[in-house]
Symmetry: C2
Subunit: 326 residues, 2 copies
């Protein structure tokens, strides 16, 4: 399978050759270890991912004048950290497909899947150390902490109390945190990095939040074949996202939806009714509107940053997020 | 449950107050995160462990003049790394008890157990970064890589081909690697550390190998109540250790043992026959003799190191390993 980033939009152009080096560096991480780990890593990396997080790290660091080689190492560390969390997530959720390819746990035992995730964590940590920045390492470890803490909080969270504050906290931990790491760590590798860090981190945060909200909208509105899972799959699994939250805020009297929010299971027919009600409501537009506001705030964080192809690409990337269809 | 290190032998004396600080720092790692993570970490740390690895790090760094505060951070990082690998190991093996206390997976879902292990990895990585040494971070990540690679190799290893080379490779990854990390990283935090690193690493390697061999011998010879599992539990689970390997080298005609080595399951009665045969053979003494040789080589690695209470304690620790009964 050809990596999907090849077919990706213009913001990849300035960093396309570097992304290839990031790919190579990621694949090299299994070298010298058990061949099954190499096979697993190749499978995981071949099944795609748009490499948005590496692109964000490379563009941010490029904009701020960081050393390219260290940025490549950082970008590989971040994408492998992301990959490792997905391996354990898919195992925990029992997901059999991701981006249309079989997950590791669909093919391997739980034991081998746990260990492969651990191995990829280890290689991500090694690459983070290879940036030779203690501050980057600390940010890297804190990010992993926050991602896992978010998942634990979701797992132990009480049903029926879903609200937007919880949602924002959850998607920040799950998604925005890695964008904040990509921008913040790239700044830390840059000559005047400490000064720029909080500003570009803000871009990472806002764009990451928008990215996840659009993902959650596409789960309701996307082309099933493109998204690769049934419409409303989050809600079907008991995951309450922004469109559902806006819907229930506007329709508190919808008894079926209230039951779904409480985590009660429904027949396929009634679940489809609820999902179609959300699809046909203003909740979708409200959520997209909110994603656009996140993007706007992300863009405004860039206004004082150095102009050039990298900043332009970061702006294009932010705008692309709310226009994408997959 | 009182931590068992309180009742431990003389080599803990020089670092006893520091070990308490290591305990406090480890427990503090759940602060600010979900309360269930705090409960899990408290449970894991309360169920003991002798804190041998922290002691080795503190003594080595003390001997070489490293800063005490950084050593405490390092020692906590290493013990948490060890703890995280045990959490995932017990899940994978389906173990319900460790050191007489229920494992996390005996009480929690697999999902929560995977994530708690990940959380502890993350906090261990953060502490490793908090030593402010890039070289320590790299060593830390390489050690985790080697531990996991060892477990994967064991998992995919072919049965019936057990030999001592495989055994040494496995126990180095599983156990000695953490002792090498404890000594090597402590050296890297010391004024003339780079010079001493390979020598004290040698001590860590030899003592770590001896430590695991004695563990494996005690699995055959130990007092069941003290060891906390049935005699020969490794072999019952298909894990071939040094006493079994020496036994089959001396008794290649023992057809039952050959079948066990091939991973074939046996009735309790025949398995007990095999275990008793090993217990009654010279294989136990051979394995202990080998552990003593590892200890001797470990001691000789210390001869050019600075004399003082720390070096004396490291020597005591090495000697204790082959005398301990649990």
């Amino acid at each position: 399978m050809v990596s999907t980033y090849l077919a990706n939009p213009s913001f990849f152009t300035p960093v396309q050759p570097l992304i290839q080096q990031v790919e190579d560096l990621m694949r090299a991480q299994s070298r010298g270890h058990h061949s099954e780990l190499g096979a697993a890593l190749d499978h995981l990396l071949a099944s795609g991912g748009k490499r948005v997080r590496p692109a964000v790290a490379l563009l941010t660091g490029g904009m701020l004048g960081a050393d390219t080689n260290r940025l490549i190492v950082l970008a590989a560390a971040i994408e492998l950290l992301h990959t490792a969390t997905l391996v354990h997530d898919d195992l925990i959720d029992g997901s059999l497909l991701r981006r249309g390819s079989p997950t590791l746990n669909a093919q391997w035992t739980p034991a081998a899947t746990v260990l492969t995730g651990d191995f990829i964590f280890a290689r991500a940590a090694k690459l983070a150390a290879d940036t030779h920045s203690v501050a980057v390492m600390q940010l890297f470890a804190e990010t992993l902490t926050n991602i896992v803490n978010g998942e634990i909080t979701q797992m132990f969270g009480s049903r029926g109390l879903a609200n937007r504050e919880d949602y924002y906290r959850r998607i920040r931990a799950k998604t925005a945190s890695l964008f904040e790491l990509a921008t913040g760590a790239a700044a830390l590798l840059s000559p005047d990095g400490e000064q720029a860090e909080s500003t570009v981190c803000r871009y990472g945060y806002e764009v990451g939040m928008a990215f996840q909200i659009v993902d959650d909208v596409l789960d309701f509105t996307g082309d099933q074949a493109t998204v690769g899972k049934p419409l409303g799959s989050d809600l079907r699994q008991g995951l309450i996202t922004l469109p559902a939250l806006y819907y229930i805020e506007a329709n508190p009297e919808d008894a079926e939806m209230v039951e779904v929010l409480k985590g009660n299971r429904y027949s396929e027919e009634r679940m489809s009714r609820v999902i179609n009600a959300i699809r046909g409501s203003g909740a979708i537009d409200q959520a997209m509107q909110e994603a656009r506001q996140f993007v706007e705030r992300g863009l405004s964080a860039l206004t004082d940053q150095p102009q050039g192809v990298e900043r332009q690409a970061l702006e294009d990337l932010a705008n692309y997020i709310v226009k994408r269809r997959m």
